[in-house]
């Protein structure tokens, strides 16, 4: 009767067909294809990194030299950004629209999925209103972190600075991501691993509007941030500031070492800068200003990268070697004809002939020429003599890197025998050929740190401890870990040191330095240097230590183009020694102090320097 009854099969068939297509499709997207799972995770997962506070840096008196202050970074994940009111965001963050556009472009170039910094280091008072409005800007979020603060505003080069990691670091070290900070120079770089702590990661789930909805995987994969470790240094923050004050408008370096421990008390490089300028949003502007100052090079740490001829301060080393090698005896006298002396003329007329004590006191070039010649000629041939001399010199720490922390340190230069063989052919050179070395000139180059180390070695009468800034590290549990440093003994008898120290004592007590450096309460020993500089005016140098017995401080002051060592370097060293030992400057020396501070030695000579 119903002729179309069989059409029910066709209709039912169509329905079953669609159902079957759906099931096949669902099978492929739910079971076969695994990518949807990854997409889903990517949709909701937000890794929030908590940055631990970077470790603090203390000086030898437990005063803070570097600490942290709070700051916030506005971060961006380009993939999640929806169109938004740029004007409002710029107003809140106090950012230029072009800057914002530029940072968004950069972020996209870096990664669509990984967060980048849009506006770094936002202050807490901008952060509060921003946090309130943040829901309007999907793809943006705020990450809190800390900024460095330098209360004493000093020791900029030694402490170094932190900066954003570059692409090369991100690629080579998986710890760092775009926008992270890393120590770029100085201690910040040397102790990066200790200072940075360990980042914490919180995995949260967010909804489509980027609002946090809860913990991912019940927080099982979360890690808490671990604080950075603190550095306990041997630096004296107030002395450092005082030294920088004395070095106002001067170019040069000061290094002071505690002889008994090798702790570096002072590491000054002038001209310097306030380390606080390399923090915060003005960092890059300030950085390029400092970086482009090619005359003063404020970011250079001259204390460890300045390669200077040590000049007359080097005579102390030559004296020690000659005595130890029995090339001269403490009583050998040599004559000097002042400016007419050959082969090296002497700077000023004085008693003649003279033995070692007066030789050091007068810094007599003739005396030290004879001393040096004796050392070189003490062996079968000059080359052997030179090699013996060189072995002593390197055992003093010259020509090698002394400090294990600061990677930028240079070795300086103590020429090898091979160099002179090459220059003059073997057997065709002798003491005469290399006579400049007798008075610390010529090919030799030393850093202020090496000179200070030599001074510590003399103060210790025969050994030095590897000079270092950081003496202990305070770990997360506030437990101190003392760092170990090698003690290096030189092969020179103690009596010879006493002989040389006798000369150094006379330098202070019997020359005009008695008016500027000599102290009433303790004995200062020292040696000036007026370093001939092929590129311009002489450098003014001074090495010294005090007190003579049981020394507390060994110091080198090196001032470029400042003329006689006795004029500026020695008085400045004297001030620093006095300040360090007595905590204050005697009233009668206040006038001298004022004069030293006010002296401008930056423009003494038109020079094209090569440090």
């Amino acid at each position: 009767m119903d002729t179309f009854s069989k059409r029910k099969f066709i209709i039912a068939g169509i329905m079953l067909l669609i159902g079957a297509i759906f099931i096949i499709r669902l099978f492929t997207i739910q079971i076969t294809n695994k990518t949807y799972k990854q997409f889903a995770t990517r949709n909701v997962l937000r890794k929030i990194i908590t940055f631990p506070a970077r470790g603090l840096i203390y000086d030898r008196n437990n005063e803070l030299m570097v600490y942290n202050k709070a700051a916030y970074d506005l971060m961006l994940i380009p993939r999640e950004v929806k169109s938004f009111d740029t004007t409002e965001l710029c107003r809140i963050v106090q950012l230029d629209r072009m800057e914002l556009r530029e940072s968004i472009k950069k972020a996209k170039q870096y990664s669509y999925y990984k967060p980048s910094i849009v506006a770094g280091q936002i202050s807490p008072d901008i952060y509060a209103p921003l946090q309130e409005k943040l829901y309007k800007y999907p793809g943006f979020f705020v990450q809190s972190r800390t900024l460095r603060e330098y209360p004493s505003k000093s020791a900029a080069q030694a402490l170094g600075f932190v900066g954003e990691v570059n692409q090369r670091i991100i690629e080579s070290d998986s710890y760092y991501r775009s926008g992270d900070y890393i120590g770029v120079s100085g201690l910040e770089k040397a102790y990066e691993k200790e200072l940075r702590g360990i980042k914490g990661i919180t995995k949260s789930m967010v909804d489509v509007h980027n609002r946090i909805k809860g913990k991912y995987n019940e927080g099982l994969e979360d890690t808490t941030a671990i604080l950075g470790q603190n550095l306990m240094t041997g630096l004296d923050a107030s002395l450092e500031a005082y030294a920088e004050l004395l070095m106002t408008n001067k170019r040069g370096a000061i290094v002071a070492i505690e002889p008994a421990t090798g702790e570096i008390i002072l590491m000054v490089s002038a001209p310097s800068y306030d380390p606080n300028v390399l923090v915060g949003r003005q960092r890059s502007t300030n950085y390029s200003i400092l970086d482009r100052d090619s005359l003063n090079k404020p970011m250079w740490n001259r204390a460890i990268i300045g390669r200077y001829p040590p000049g007359s301060t080097f005579k102390l080393a030559n004296a020690l070697i000659a005595l130890q090698e029995h090339a001269i005896s403490p009583f050998d006298r040599f004559s000097c004809s002042g400016k007419g002396s050959k082969p090296i003329s002497c700077t000023h007329p004085h008693v003649s002939p003279l033995a070692i004590r007066e030789g050091i006191r007068e810094s007599c070039n003739s005396f030290f020429w004879n001393t040096f010649r004796s050392i070189i000629n003490n062996k079968k041939n000059p080359a052997d003599g030179y090699q013996a001399w060189r072995d002593y010199i390197t055992s003093f720490g010259f020509g090698t890197k002394l400090n294990p922390e600061l990677s930028s340190e240079v070795k300086g230069n103590i020429p090898e025998v091979a160099l002179y063989d090459k220059w003059y052919t073997p057997g065709h050179w002798n003491a005469m050929t290399i006579r400049s070395l007798a008075i610390g000139q010529g090919e030799i180059e030393a850093t202020p740190l090496q000179m200070a180390n030599m001074c510590a070695l003399i103060a210790n009468r025969g050994y030095y401890i590897e000079p270092h800034i950081v003496k202990a590290i305070q770990d997360t549990n506030r437990v101190y870990r003392e760092l170990k440093f090698e003690k290096k003994v030189v092969d020179i008898a103690q009596e010879h040191f006493n002989t040389v120290i006798g000369g150094m004592e006379a330098v202070i007590a019997e020359t005009r330095l008695q008016f500027t450096v000599k102290q009433d309460s303790f004995i200062v020993c020292g040696k000036t240097g007026t370093v001939q500089n092929p590129h311009g005016a002489d450098h003014s140098a001074f090495v010294g230590f005090a007190p003579r017995d049981n020394p507390k401080i060994a110091i080198v002051v090196f001032i470029e183009n400042a003329g006689f060592g006795a004029t500026y370097a020695a008085p400045i060293a004297g001030m620093l020694i006095e300040k360090y030992m007595n905590d204050s400057i005697a009233p009668k020396r206040k006038e001298l102090e004022q004069r030293l501070i006010e002296t401008n030695l930056l423009n003494v000579v038109e020079v094209k320097k090569k440090l």
Binding site: F22, I29, N33, Y36, A40
Partner: protein, 475 residues
């Protein structure tokens, strides 16, 4: 009293069980989709799941009411019901409330009703009434015009309310008419036209013409099974195309390759058609006719769309096909929907453990995209269960419709089955990227009073009719 017991004994409990199961599963998924830590109580009527619980209570009341209604009422009042709802629909543009851009809602107190939802039932009743009338001949001109009028009148009104999704549902009545004897060719052509239209709009006319050409050669080959002749035909077609393309290349013209394809299609069709007439192959001539018609239809659809229609009309069509409803580039919503379902895996993430739906990555997660929650939290097991329930219900409804001797009941039953089928196919199809994103709900699952009540009404009128299958329904 005895009669009433009789009704409850004759209702189809299988259908009712599936219905209840769907509502419960649907509610569980709505709860999960909009779950809110602060409002855990299922009776929290500020939340959608609390409200849906009320809608379900009311729906059960409606169901009981329908079963207690005399079945003769539906037969007698089929046309009045149709006319009343048509009148209400006409009033909607004046008294309606706009929601999601469609002015298709009427506010009654705190409730919002969507008359177009109830129009499906009313149209089904009217169709059943008309088709079951004496002397009904489906292919008579008068019948076709009347049927067309019954279907197209509500379609037109709903279109005017900007609710294109609901309007399109009425197209599924073609399946009912087909069951009642409408020539299969009509169904075939309707399907072909819809397909060509969608392909042209969603892909582009060039691709559509290429697909049609390939399909024509394939069909021809399947009928004739002579590989040599098929290859010759393909050769002729590509040859013409190549020559035209070469000429264009040589004179360095800049003609759209679509025109070469079109020219090749027309020229080769003419050649084959003449040849078909010569060798008197009528089937080949018909095939060529259908092919050429489809090609010209595709091209003219594209032309009309781009050159004649106004922008707002284009937007309407794009929206209908889910092309422009996308704010974040092509297929963002569908992609998020697929991510939600796909991330469920085999066993799903578990109840309330879904992240994609709960955290709003999927749009409309409690209404049109409720299937995403099923897929994400219950996995392949859940989705297959839901599809199984739907297929079970649909097949059961066809079985019930066929067992009724009354033509009215049968036609109405088919209307119910096909309407549910259309919603099922389009709604689930869009969530898994197989159908355009047309915003129509998944029956008994999606959140919303109007749709739940109208589907309950639609279904239970049929259950009531079916319960009276042993009675003589007279009018």
């Amino acid at each position: 009293m005895e009669k009433r017991n009789n009704v409850w004994a004759n209702v189809d409990w299988i259908t009712i069980s599936i219905y209840l199961a769907m509502m419960i599963i649907g509610w569980i998924n709505i709860y999960a989709a909009v779950y809110n830590e602060e409002h855990k109580s299922i009776f929290d009527f500020t939340q959608q799941y609390g409200k849906q619980l009320m809608w379900i209570g009311a729906a059960i009341f409606i169901a009981v009411l329908m079963i207690n209604t005399d079945s003769k009422f539906f037969v007698s009042f089929a046309f009045p019901i149709y006319i009343v709802i048509i009148l209400i629909l006409m009033l909607v543009p004046f008294i309606g409330t706009v929601i999601n851009g469609a002015k298709s809602w009427i506010r009654i107190g705190d409730f919002l009703l969507q008359p177009s939802e109830f129009m499906k039932m009313a149209t089904s009743l009217a169709l059943a009434r008309y088709i079951s009338s004496y002397n009904f001949k489906i292919h008579s001109f008068k019948s076709l015009v009347t049927l067309g009028g019954i279907i197209l009148l509500p379609v037109g009104l709903i279109f005017l309310q900007n609710d294109t999704g609901s309007a399109i549902v009425f197209g599924v009545f073609l399946l009912v008419l087909y069951r009642e004897g409408l020539n299969g060719i009509v169904l075939f052509f309707s399907f072909l036209i819809a397909l060509v239209f969608i392909f042209t709009m969603v892909l582009d006319p060039l691709v559509t013409v290429l697909i049609l050409t390939a399909a024509a050669f394939l069909v021809n080959h399947l009928i004739k099974k002579k590989l040599q002749r098929t290859l010759i035909a393909v050769g002729v077609f590509t040859g013409i195309f190549a020559i035209l393309w070469l000429i264009n290349y040589l004179v360095q013209g800049s003609v759209d390759p679509l025109y070469f394809l079109l020219a090749a299609a027309i020229i080769s069709s003419a050649i084959f058609f003449i040849w078909a007439m010569v060798i008197r192959k009528r089937s080949l001539a018909i095939l060529i006719g259908i092919y050429l018609g489809s090609v010209l239809f595709a091209v003219s659809v594209d032309y009309v769309f781009h050159n004649i229609m106004e922008q707002h009309q284009r937007d309407r069509i794009n929206e209908l096909l889910g092309i422009q409803s996308d704010l974040h580039g092509a297929g963002y919503h569908v992609n998020q929907s697929k991510i939600a379902i796909g991330s469920g895996g085999f066993f799903g993430k578990g109840f309330l453990q879904g992240t994609q739906t709960k955290f709003d990555f999927v749009p409309e997660q409690s209404t049109d995209f409720i299937f995403c929650t099923v897929g994400e939290e219950w996995g392949f097991l859940g989705t297959v269960t839901v599809i199984g329930l739907f297929l079970g219900l649909l097949i059961r409804l066809i079985f019930l419709a066929e067992r009724n001797r009354s033509k009215f009941s049968r036609v109405y039953g088919y209307c119910v089955a096909t309407i549910l089928f259309f919603h099922f196919a389009v709604n689930i199809g869009m969530t898994i990227g197989l159908a355009p994103v047309i915003g129509i709900p998944l029956p008994f699952f999606s959140y919303g009073g109007s749709s739940l009540w109208s589907f309950t009404l639609l279904l239970f009128v049929f259950i009531r009719l079916d319960a009276s299958r042993f009675e003589q329904l007279s009018y």
